[in-house]
Symmetry: D3
Subunit: 281 residues, 6 copies
């Protein structure tokens, strides 16, 4: 997260604070003395890859510029359970208001990073790279994709605006895959690569004939994938997509594709187990 990226996220972080804190944290207001101070630690309860520490720091700053935040780990670190990731010190009220807001970010992002790292580990030694998709939680695209990078994954396009991926729902408007690719090529700028999704050998051949830059093998079995890799023989990079799980990801990677994209990385996240431990200071 570069500073300018955090600037661009500020509105989103403020929205998250507003969503939870709304008209005020009535529990903290009614149970804490106005001048109570605390020290609090973000502590892991499982092994994980850290992602979101910089976001938590920014959230703390937005909630209360008087809070002192100290990161002990950085995004991308692999840590074991019971690790202190960061400490925050200052107004007890501010820290308790911040608790769930910050954990919701930290647990989701670390969950994504950790899952990504598992997929990456499974394909070690192959040439395949683990890639994400646009199946992210609405509003969290940039953060979800940042977490994938923290886990060692590679980002596919961010949105509809920064990459061309012709899918079946576009192909139905064209007589052939090749026609779709050629039509797009004429209308696109000179920095665009064209990826096209295919579902069988005929379309695959057609995509290459049309001049596709990257080809996505949609819902191929590992066997079909192997045959496709052989037939393409390195002419264009290949990406496996659809139905990839931790169990079968290595089969796809060993089939020889260049990329394996995994929607579950972001559409079916398991939040990492991280707590905030607070004590009076």
């Amino acid at each position: 997260m570069k500073p300018v990226d955090l600037t661009l996220l500020r509105e989103h972080l403020l929205a998250a604070i507003r969503e939870d804190a709304g008209s005020g944290d009535v529990t903290s207001r009614s149970t804490l003395d106005a001048d109570a101070t605390a020290v609090a630690g973000y502590v892991t309860k499982q092994d994980l890859i850290v992602s979101g520490i910089r976001i938590v720091e920014e959230l703390a700053r937005l909630c209360d510029t008087g809070l002192e935040f100290r990161a002990l780990r950085i995004d991308g670190d692999a840590v074991t359970g019971n690790t202190l990731l960061a400490e925050v010190r200052g107004s007890a009220h501010s820290i308790l208001t911040l608790e769930r807001i910050s954990l919701n970010f930290l647990q989701r992002l670390s969950g994504i990073a950790t899952a990504t790292a598992e997929y990456v580990a499974r394909v070690t030694g192959t040439a395949a790279r683990i890639v994400d998709t646009r199946k992210t939680a609405p509003g969290l695209r940039l953060l979800d994709k940042y977490a994938v990078r923290c886990g060692g994954g590679m980002n596919h396009r961010v949105g509809l605006f920064d990459g061309v991926l012709i899918k079946n729902n576009h192909l139905v408007f064209h007589p052939s895959v090749a026609d779709a690719v050629r039509t797009a090529r004429q209308r696109l700028g000179h920095l665009a690569r064209i990826e096209v999704e295919v579902t069988n050998q005929l379309e695959l051949d057609d995509a290459i004939a049309g001049g596709a830059d990257v080809i996505m093998l949609d819902n191929y079995t590992p066997d079909e994938t192997r045959r496709a890799v052989l037939s393409v023989a390195g002419r264009v990079p290949l990406e496996s997509s659809g139905g990839i799980t931790l169990e079968n990801v290595r089969e796809y990677a060993e089939a020889g594709v260049d990329y394996v994209s995994v929607g579950a990385l972001t559409h079916s996240v398991t939040g990492a187990d991280i707590h905030l431990q607070v004590r009076p200071d």
Copy 2:
């Protein structure tokens, strides 16, 4: 979703469109003729509880007021795989831009509703109700909680502002649970109920002595829960929380608590399998 609720969500829906469509959908712009029209159907690939149809309708309207949207199912419906949930007709470009944006909402919300319904089914016949938490994806609180209702669950407080829940991190600032509850009572308005989280019998007794309105049993085993229910003997409602899974939820319900809250409903969502099938029109 009442109309005014959709009004309040509009900014969030626009942000989701902006996030994905950004400076323009370059694939649709380069592969589709400007005046191409299409008809498209949202189709399930699994059994599920529907949630998010109204959101998809609103997204379609925001993307292009010329799109005709027709809902065939409503939020809360239980449907089987291969069911047509809704149809949209109009500009092919608009429909393809809308595809992933709308599916990301629909898959997440239906995933939450479906998981909730499974928990609810497990406790059938007991007096316990399934309750959500604030462990939601940042920015999606209201929608995540709406999906829980679609699945038959009950909402806990929406945020820090509309309910009092004194947790361990507040209790460390007080000599006793009873002191925390009494302090809060004095400072709160007359419409507030006070829930307090306890971890053992001493705290439980103390909470009742202090006048808590609801007590949350934090990380109790089913056995401990049963003993707690007996000891409280109906004086205040009880809520089980922490470590609840599909496997053990019935045990907690049968232990006699009034509420069982399940963080996984929203912090570890599995997106439901729903596709958009497009054809030229």
Copy 3:
């Protein structure tokens, strides 16, 4: 005002600055040298309860981070006329642009706090507490309610979202008050108390039968209030509402109700008399 509350108000404060300063303060730009500096004091012209000093400080910071702000009194202080509340030092242009913007907040909030304190003083020695309503200036709800607290009053619910109050306009959809209360109870979460507004003894009895948690006596005379208090005999808290003035508030309080809500606290505010005295520095 906690730091996070100020964060959530920032957009509103900026809107107030934008509203007045718009495309620029042409008077200051044309009459002051660019490098002129000033020192200015917020001075009371009447006895009052201070409210809004923290807001003025935040406004000063937003207008010009170079301004030095020094608070001499804090929100909630009772002061006499001719008291210096705060001092600001720095660019003369910035201070003069800030003048009316900040006074509009400070005068309104101190006006509300002062009026609230008068009502509170009138009921001294009784068990009744002075409560506000949602009859606030649009956009100023949180600040108006903060000012009520500064004056010693208690806040009723902040908005439609954090408290249940069944009024006559809801009751017309139900065969009885009891039915309305019971219907609501079934659909509500476990942290909600239900208050219901009644206008006669029949409804009052019905409300208690239905299980209302708090009852609002709408437009009762003091005599009717006394009879209601007797009949309820402490079973639920009672709130007087409608037609309350400084002249009759004690009568209601002495009738034995727990709360007296006063719409005029915020819907008919008299701005407190406070000036800004500026001199070159």
Copy 4:
């Protein structure tokens, strides 16, 4: 209110809805059936000048485009108590959510218009016009000033950006009033008139010598005002300001000034008594 003015106010109206409705109207949600419909009337409980009907119409449209709104009176109308101003028909839930939000606008604006009309009536037959100030509720400047026009008053400048008014706090940076006026004249565009506030005869003479276009007599008594009018002898328009009440406003007007500005019109508003009567439909 021109359509484009309403466009510019939309964000403010949405903010007011968000402020009250927040995460949802829990009372309406729990007491009304989802498909309940209602008809509701805005009814006066006192004589008043109407202001805000167009705003209520816009709020209704923002809350729920399905609501039918029918205005029976227009802004600026003088009506007696028990007059039906407007009717709205549609979803009961939407109408009840809208109730307080819309009344808060309508009561404040009609309160301002009504008070303005009283001041205007007091100066009937004189040449003086009643003028407002910038002492408005933060965020409501344009609406407060619109209400003044509905009541027959005239608007002073809207903000710091559209009129020059040199006040005492500017004058302290200049050796003389004339110097301040001349300095400003040199730096200002050709469409600016310069008004300057004076507190005695010396400053008044100096202001005229400096070429002021309008002179504000600050906190003059009626007698002092009369003498000032005589001494100025029509060379520039004069405005009385400070300490004006319903009781003394005619004295100032009869003293011969052109304008009398009244801060209380907007800084100390008494909300007009208007109710919403709802019945099932």
Copy 5:
């Protein structure tokens, strides 16, 4: 402009309206009767390529949904002076408020489209395409680039996010152009092409050795460009950039480059001459 693109521009269009109309159009308010209606025509005073008609339509709708807008020409049309481009009918006040706001868009965009078409015409018959840059007016990037397309030009990347262009200011951090290209390649996703800016033959050879996908010849003379084209011999596409004018653009095109980028298209715009003719209706 697709509907969803207009949705994403709405905030910007509203900001433009707010910027000009601010607290109200005092001239129209004071000179026009409230119910005056008008018909107005957007008429060209010169030959031009139209761009912005859809934007004017959207502005009209935002200002006043009661306005009837009828486009007689569409974006991209080449028209002569004295052509009626569009007509708007409705409230005179709304039309006059809209006048300058809409003309500022229409004149700028048509100015850009017209200038682009002139460059495109100059390179007719060559293989070179005219390309824009990121040197646009802040806030108008998408519209400026849309106007370039209306004029027959091709868009370079929209922003820093959707294309890789390694410029001299990046190269200074690398020992060689090849190193920069290779470093980027490793870190980029599979849909990115890499363009690199070179200033001499050495860098050009190095860029090709490093595997650049596109090469920008920065501030080459036409002669140097010819030599570069020969040396590259079609291995990668080439883009001329820097110092291109209407006078020399054909020389560059004939030198054999694939693209010629022209910053002046958007950084030094001459507004097209278009008027609004209004008459009472």
Copy 6:
């Protein structure tokens, strides 16, 4: 640029950053090491009047609070080519992301200031002042007008809200110019001057008869202008408008008008030639 003016511009500056940086600067991310630092200088390539340094400083701060910015020249300075205007030091990534965003502001504003200064120089020794118009780039009104001031020009009204200018499109709704002026006068506040646009002697005489405060001579030749000046004989200030160029501006000024307004200052801007030179630090 006063601090409060920068506060009011912040949203616009953030929008400009968001527009270019979007989902991230992929070139800098892929070519620069995360901890690379740089020093960079804004250097002129032509003689110019500086405008925008304060804006660049604010942009730098918004992009990355860790950047050190040092201005060597201030807005309004006349400098020659090859002058270092400002230096920025810090994260190489931040500086390169900032490059084009900041140059787009600096080049436009300095371009406007420089052009304005040329017009001002041409009328040296006459009584005429160079004035701008509302023909600015949408969204940049305040900055464009600030640049005009930096170049020695005078601002006409900022928008429709802070000055009255009755143009031909208003006059068509009135039987005479005098009628339009008189109607406006009755409805306007006491700080408004009325300017009216005339196209011939008849309208000019009528405008004076109606009491116009300023008269704009629309599309007069220099000869016609001279005759108009003689006929008016100093009764009201005159402004020439329409068809003014660097070549003929002195003729208009010498004809004796008080103001000459030049739309081209802002509607047809030539960006000044300024570069950012970056080196590793």
